[in-house]
Symmetry: C2
Subunit: 118 residues, 2 copies
Amino acid sequence: MQYRIYQSMERKSLKSVNFEKRNGIIPVVVQDLKTREVLMLAYVNQEALKKTNTTGNAWFWSTSKGKLWMKGEESGNIQPVKEIRMDCDLDAALYIVESDRPACHTGQRSCFHHMLTD
Amino acid sequence: MQYRIYQSMERKSLKSVNFEKRNGIIPVVVQDLKTREVLMLAYVNQEALKKTNTTGNAWFWSTSKGKLWMKGEESGNIQPVKEIRMDCDLDAALYIVESDRPACHTGQRSCFHHMLTD
């Protein structure tokens, strides 16, 4: 299933991801497939990215707790991942997810619910 | 100008951003206002975020070169920022930009032009 292609897409393997550049942990943007809302920003190590790729659910690496976690393992708000994209430098990921559940631990749909002022 | 509000938005000041948690540098997701495409992932320190907020153009901190840079300063593909959002933990930002120029140094619209396979 493809979300939408504005440009040529190149396939890359898990091995090609550049974890070294970021000390083993890279950021992941989570975006909703339908609304395209940016839901959250989290991190993955190689194992979390691999688990996401093989299970189809969003896995991350908690930088504060120092452990793997599956989105929704406690809240039930799992995030089925329809596509994993990598950026040009292969050191940032984008999960395209299909879930209408809250992504934020506050219960809001997106974690980006603050607006920066001065 | 507001992009779209699915939820309650809370105003936060630059001072409230948690740079300490990430050693002074936090990730920024760049999203297009109209198409909602995720264009790139970069980083900011406090000065870059402040410059973005005051100038209205996207500024970042280059983690490889160790210096501030304005998107488009060389390519001309500047990114006017219509809104800056912060996530729930105040340690990740989202720039909502209005630009139909390529965001990637490869000339592609988005930096996320790789699809992860096995």
